[in-house]
Symmetry: C2
Subunit: 302 residues, 2 copies
């Protein structure tokens, strides 16, 4: 991947490493990659990143991996096989550690993408040790990119793949203003784009329309896709969209949204610039909501 | 959802029913919906649709549901609560029954969307009866939109939600031609857009670039999202994109792609028109690959 892949590359979306799927699925080639003297291991503290003195992701020689842990092939960087340990760490909920957010905000795009991949997969393995089809234990396969239920030990043999949950995150536009909202868990004054999981039997565009109807009581048209971002808390694929409505009357779902309002171009710009007089605090730059707002401002000024 | 939601509405993407998430999550309201005299049940034969004499999806009164089966709230259509039975039918692989494909091709968009939702969820429940976290049995919750591991019977209490697996399906363009390929399982002469699952730690755009590199050996830039489609075989979200490459040299992954070639505007138009002289047979109209080709032809003809 290069920077001319798309106009907007959000944090975590800038991966360039060769994921080497043909090595993953070939036990001989996988073993050969593990044996290479330059093979390296991403250091993790549970699910959290570990940084070296320069503030980059820290790596160790692969032989430092615990013999008790399965290995995940993150990919091959140039000629360096890169692994992470399936260390059993799992978290059902997003991480709220402010230090994590700060450190991710300054990582180079390629490193943020590697951490996102490692975090999602380590977490997925920890929370999917059993077969959803028959209840028997499963084992890591394909260099950590699948789990399989063991037929020889009485299981059904089903193969399971890591989840990636598509989430729409969206603006609605009306009379030159955009809709932003506050979830109850947000820090004070923070407003962001509304969001929700895409459900079975639904397109991205249908999901955008449903979420805005359920959460804000507005009917939208002209849904337009802007950009996407992997979000490893725990395993979302964020898909940022805009839409248009003709009636700004809001009816909020107060369980999901504690406050929502329409903001003008000037108000959004003030918030993006960190102006203390701005009527709200913008989402942080590593969230795709930030890219979505920035893109809207640029389109207005274009 | 209305037809002005987006420029392209592929088959299965045209849902308009109110999914009524506030009813799903409220046991009292859910019970009230089940008790309404007009509540109705989508007829299914395993995972296959059942049609009435007019060729529409067939419905029965809700009391015809088996008392042994949990119910799935598909949504509320006007004031009619619509359910399906979690009948235990599951299939790990796409359905290949030509009669199914024919019948889906002529269903009105709203009905195709309801069938897609029902099929994905009935299948998901059948193949996820156990907790992936602890191996204990799980139970349907929230009107069929979740399963929960039962803490009182020794489980861990984890809640599980239906999977929706994002898949990129893409064209690459080079010198006025587009790349199409054949999977070994395709009928003779059929060519279609290449496709693959988006992986953890990857954007849609990154997934498009990776798939085209892995399967066809080309490096692309300028990935552009076109449209999306729920695809219930078993639970994909298809996201159709275009991209551009400067070097048409192909290196195929022959496990995935048995043949691939660049086709001109005239050749694609001939195939879309069903011309017997066309160099390939186009994908069927209910596949988003068809919408992707149609959109490309329209863009070329401006």
């Amino acid at each position: 991947m290069t920077t001319d892949l798309s106009a907007i590359i959000p944090t975590f979306a800038g991966g360039t490493i060769d994921r080497a799927d043909q090595v993953r699925v070939n036990p001989e080639r996988l073993k050969e990659a593990m044996m290479r003297p330059n093979a390296r291991l991403l250091k993790l503290d549970g699910l959290s990143p570990v940084f070296d003195a320069a503030g980059d992701l820290a790596w160790a020689p692969l032989y430092e991996a615990s013999p008790d842990n399965d290995l995940l092939l993150l990919g091959i960087d140039g000629d360096t096989p890169c692994f992470a340990e399936l260390n059993g760490a799992g978290a059902a909920m997003p991480a709220a550690d402010p230090r994590l957010w700060q450190s991710l905000g300054v990582l180079p795009p390629e490193q943020a993408a590697i951490y996102a991949t490692a975090r999602s997969l380590v977490d997925w393995h920890a929370r999917h040790r059993f077969c959803a089809n028959c209840g028997q234990p499963t084992e890591s396969r394909k260099g950590g990119w699948a789990r399989q239920c063991n037929k020889e030990e009485g299981g059904c043999g089903a193969e399971h793949f890591p989840r990636t949950d598509p989430v729409a995150i969206m603006l609605a536009e009306c009379e030159g203003k955009i809709l932003l909202g506050r979830q109850p868990r947000f820090p004070p004054k923070r407003f962001s784009a509304l969001a929700g999981f895409i459900e079975p039997g639904e397109s991205i565009e249908g999901g955008v329309a449903r979420e805005l109807w359920e959460e804000a009581g507005i009917k939208v048209r002209n849904v337009r896709y802007i950009a996407s971002q992997p979000w490893p808390f725990p395993s979302s694929l964020m898909m940022a969209c805009t839409s248009v409505t003709d009636d700004p009357t809001l009816t909020l779902d107060e369980e999901e949204i504690e406050e929502a309002a329409w903001f003008s171009l000037g108000e959004v710009k003030a918030a993006m610039n960190g102006d203390p007089e701005a009527p709200f605090i913008a989402p942080p730059p590593f969230a795709i909501a930030y890219n979505l707002l920035k893109n809207w401002v640029e389109e207005q000024e274009g």
